[in-house]
């Protein structure tokens, strides 16, 4: 997490994830809610689970994936993008979603979540990834194959070569997935990027990375599959001009390519750091990208107008009073994206003018105060509790066993 006050990175905690959810819930730009960060307080310091339902329970590190899904389900009404961290972790997560939906069948009919599953570049599917694919297919919960070729590092240096590797990895995954359960829901996803030749990093803000995402999605579209990409992220570590430029640019490109789902908003440092303030700034870029994708239209169903606007010219003549026209009032909300005060278009005021991070902080506070927590029935909460208890016990046993192997005292948490 980027701490908005100290401007330094610190391990993310449950309160951070809750804040991310609160902001995402209130912003219509976000169609789905990501289990964006891993909560270190539930893992390493053995603090209490955040929610009342599991009060008094410790969360072992091995169920960090389940824990963050739990936090999101308790605070969000939106569709969820998530993923498990191990082969064994998936079952509990699916059970949690089934409890949320009412039953495994209801979950299958209308799945609330999609799971990211990654091949291991180049051209390899790990045991963990393969298990996840097969288990998701059998549960009827959508899998999103996030192939991440890094052009020049873990994939051919040519962009075209990396698009080829991406397609091969995703097709191999789909084969496995469809053999396990023909017709199971699948997303042609990806996080392709170039490989940084100085640091070995994955520069998510590079224009070539955006080009890769566009090209990979084009292949998926050709195959008639729903597509996904990783954009709207940056390599900057702060919420600064670089962060804005890279994130907005790739939002636009993703929209132009018609990618169906895009992950990455709010992310800094090549996906290693999150900022809630960046999330609300990115929301403006995303709204602009949606606007761009809609293109130039002629009026609306309710208020038709003609291409050359001759009727409007005729009514106003040379007076220039377009503001008075009923068409103006009826259409301006559709013609223009009206940004929140995060975007500075204010009339000139006192100097110095405010900067975007300051405005974003205020906006985050406002959105959080607007947020209302959804209420879950006691029955669902009790089911959640039972699943978390069961998984925590399983993880504790596994941890103790692997501890025994190295002669580590049983007392390890």
């Amino acid at each position: 997490m980027l701490d908005p006050e100290t401007l330094e990175a610190r391990p993310s905690e449950t309160r951070d994830l809750v804040r991310i959810v609160q902001v995402t819930e209130t912003l219509p730009q976000f169609a789905a809610q990501s289990t964006a960060v891993v909560c270190s307080d539930a893992l390493l310091s053995n603090s209490l689970l955040y929610n009342d339902a599991c009060n008094g329970k410790h969360a072992p590190g091995a169920i960090a994936d389940l824990y963050r899904l739990l936090v999101v389900l308790q605070h969000s009404d939106k569709p969820v993008v998530t993923g498990s961290f191990s082969a064994a972790g998936l079952e509990g997560m699916i059970d949690l979603l089934a409890a949320d939906s009412g039953s495994p069948d209801r979950l299958r009919q209308q799945p609330r979540a999609v799971f990211d599953v990654c091949p291991s570049p180049p051209l390899n599917w790990s045991e963990f990834g393969s298990h996840n694919l097969i288990d998701l297919a059998r549960a009827g919960v959508p899998a999103e194959i996030v192939s991440m070729p890094l052009a020049g590092g873990t994939a051919p240096v040519t962009l075209a070569g990396s698009v080829t590797q991406h397609a091969a990895e995703v097709l191999a995954g789909i084969t496995l997935h469809q053999l396990a359960a023909p017709g199971a829901p699948i997303v042609w996803g990806g996080a392709p990027a170039i490989f940084d030749m100085r640091t070995g990093g994955a520069p998510m803000g590079a224009v070539e990375t955006a080009m890769l995402n566009m090209a990979c999605a084009e292949v998926g579209k050709h195959l008639g599959l729903p597509t996904h990409g990783y954009l709207v992220a940056t390599d900057s570590k702060l919420v600064d001009a670089q962060a804005g430029a890279e994130s907005a640019r790739s939002a636009m490109l993703g929209a132009l390519a018609g990618i169906n789902m895009i992950s990455g908003a709010g992310m800094l440092e090549s996906l290693a750091r999150f900022s809630v303030e960046k999330l609300v700034i990115d929301a403006e870029s995303i709204a602009s990208a949606y606007r761009l994708a809609r293109g130039i239209e002629i009026g609306s169903d309710k208020v038709p107008s003609e291409t050359l606007a001759t009727a409007m010219f005729a009514q106003i003549g040379l007076s220039g009073e377009f503001l008075k026209l009923k068409e103006t009032r009826a259409l301006f909300r559709q013609e223009q994206h009206l940004p929140s005060p995060v975007i500075d278009r204010s009339a000139r005021g006192s100097e110095p003018a405010s900067d975007v991070l300051t405005r974003a902080r205020t906006r985050v506070d406002e959105l959080v105060s607007k947020y209302r927590k959804p209420s879950l029935s006691e029955d669902v909460l009790r089911k959640f509790q039972a699943i978390v208890d069961r998984e925590a016990d399983r993880a504790a046993v596994e941890e103790a066993e692997s501890g025994k192997n190295v002669g580590v005292a049983q007392a390890t948490k």
Partner: protein
């Protein structure tokens, strides 16, 4: 050293030209030159320069890898003669590396291995998802000086702690030093689990390892070369 042969050796490494490096090494042997001198005054000057250029962003990873390959080729050519003369080139130390249990990220760990090896360390890379017992076994087997554990997931950072505990339990520390790294690792975490060191990137990892071996770096090129 302004000797044209040493100069050419240095350049062959900077250019990342293994064939040229081998040719120059053979030339040195034919002339009856002390192979250790060829390394210290020729080839190693090149790899040190390449490392520095990489460190300041002037050279790129593919260049550095080519330099390392050229260096290896030169050493391989000179090795038999060095063995004969008993003037074996000593590694700075032995380092066992791996990614923590349950974690499959290895790009950063591989980069650290490359830089440490180019910097003069002998690396034993155990790969990904390595258990504490595997780390301990390898450290014993090769009589390691340093054990390095990479972890990219918040959840697998616990594996770094487990490795340190296992090293302790097996009586390997403090002689064997434990270092850690990875995107989510902080100095606070390193201190909390009692690691001997931590670094944010591969270049710093080399400095760290040298410091732990008591081989504090000097800006003086010749001194550096003598160590390499």
């Amino acid at each position: 050293m302004s000797d044209p042969l040493f100069e050419a050796m240095r350049q062959s490494i900077i250019d990342g030209a293994p064939d040229k490096a081998v040719e120059l090494a053979q030339q040195a042997l034919a002339q009856g030159l002390d192979p250790l001198q060829a390394v210290n005054l020729g080839f190693a000057v090149g790899i040190t320069f390449a490392g520095e250029q990489f460190g300041c962003g002037e050279m790129f990873l593919p260049d550095l890898l080519a330099s390392a390959e050229a260096m290896q080729a030169a050493i391989k050519t000179l090795e038999p003669e060095m063995l004969k003369r008993g003037s074996e080139r000593k590694a700075l130390g032995k380092i066992v590396l791996g990614t923590a249990r349950g974690d499959i990220h290895d790009i950063g760990k591989n980069l650290v291995a490359t830089i440490l090896s180019a910097g003069g360390f002998q690396i034993f890379d155990l790969g990904t998802s390595v258990t504490p017992e595997q780390f301990v076994a390898k450290a014993k087997e090769v009589d390691a000086d340093i054990v390095g554990v990479s972890a990219l997931l918040t959840t697998t950072m616990a594996g770094q702690k487990a490795v340190i505990e296992a090293l302790d339990r097996n009586g390997l520390r403090p002689r064997v030093k434990a270092i850690i790294g990875g995107a989510a690792v902080t100095s606070k975490w390193a201190a909390e689990i009692g690691a001997d060191g931590y670094s944010r990137n591969a270049i710093d990892a080399l400095e760290l390892a040298k410091n732990l071996m008591g081989k504090v770096d000097s800006k003086d090129m010749n001194k550096r070369t003598a160590l390499a």
